[in-house]
């Protein structure tokens, strides 16, 4: 016996509906719009290497500054009293100075 259930029949109709999806016409100015975006992206990717370098430098600098600040804070909390400890403590309290110091190095 090879009789189809109502849901088998519906499934077959859905498949047919998928295949017969109405065509969507390409709008008149569509291609020009795509090419405009492509040209913009092409120009952007031409300056990308410099932007990427700047982006990397900033993030690495910030990460290094954060690591040094954590280290300095830990060191200072241990109660060190030497000049180096004091310097680290001051740097830990002034992240901007610390960041500038990292950028110099």
């Amino acid at each position: 016996m090879n009789e189809q259930s109502p849901s088998d029949d519906l499934e077959a109709r859905l498949k047919e509906a998928w295949r017969q999806a109405p065509r969507a016409p390409v709008p008149a100015a569509w291609q020009a719009g795509v090419m405009r975006t492509i040209h913009v992206r092409a120009r952007l990717s031409a300056v990308d290497p410099r932007l990427r370098f700047l982006h990397r430098t900033i993030w690495r600098g910030a990460a290094a500054a954060a690591a040094v600040a954590l280290f300095a804070a830990g060191f200072a909390l241990r109660g060190g009293t030497s000049a180096e400890t004091e310097l680290l403590r001051l740097l830990a309290l002034d992240p901007q100075a610390l960041f500038e110091l990292v950028l110099v190095f």
């Binding site: 259930s5 109502p6 849901s7 519906l10 499934e11 109709r13 859905l14 498949k15 047919e16 509906a17 998928w18 295949r19 017969q20 999806a21 109405p22 065509r23 969507a24 016409p25 390409v26 709008p27 569509w30 291609q31 719009g33 795509v34 090419m35 975006t37 492509i38 040209h39 992206r41 092409a42 990717s45």
Partner: protein, 197 residues
């Protein structure tokens, strides 16, 4: 030299070498097929937008194109990926706004029994399309995507895995489960219609 004489792969090389304008030839050659693929996956009023996204995405990924495979197949994969992204984005928006999708709640005008083969061919197709949209809208997102690709587009498991960026076993399991859900949904609808006077 006429455009038709230059292969897609040669044009890709020209674009990669900096001749951005040459990309327009690729758009001209493949826009119809991209529109055809996209029109099956997304609502009609969003087809042009997703097709636009497809060509921009393909341009940005040209470095990953392997000339050993036809450009058309590679582009079709990107088109389907953009369609999946469209639904993912829609799902995110829906979660954010917490507004139910209108298509999800609206019962199809022509439900199971109402698809009358005696009706005109055009009306029958429209009704079947309504039912299809209704059923897909009621499935979880992953089920919808995998079902559309494996069951309706008839992609291989391998190709579907590449489009969705899933493992092949996940595609197999989800496709099976999604089809089961669809069948249950349709059986429920058919039974509901059967009870009506």
């Amino acid at each position: 030299m006429r455009h038709e004489e230059v292969t897609d792969e040669a044009i890709v090389q020209r674009v990669q070498a900096g001749d951005t304008g040459a990309y327009e030839t690729l758009i001209e050659r493949h826009r119809e097929s991209v529109f055809r693929i996209v029109a099956r996956h997304v609502p009609r009023d969003r087809v042009a937008e997703v097709a636009h996204e497809t060509f921009v995405s393909a341009y940005l990924s040209l470095a990953g194109f392997q000339p050993t495979h036809p450009f058309e197949h590679w582009l079709a994969r990107i088109a389907r990926r953009c369609c999946c992204d469209f639904w993912r984005e829609r799902e995110r928006e829906r979660e954010h706004t917490e507004e139910p999708d209108a298509a999800e709640d609206k019962r199809p005008r022509a439900a199971a029994r109402a698809i009358d083969p005696r009706a005109g061919r055009e009306a029958e197709q429209r009704e079947a399309r309504e039912l299809l949209e209704w059923a897909l809208a009621r499935l979880p997102l992953d089920d919808r995507l995998v079902l559309a690709l494996v069951y309706f587009d008839e992609l291989s498991v391998k190709e579907c895995a590449l489009v969705l960026d899933w493992g092949e076993s996940k595609v197999k399991v989800r496709a099976l489960r999604a089809r089961e859900r669809l069948r249950r949904l349709l059986a429920g609808l058919a039974a509901e219609d059967g009870k009506r006077p």
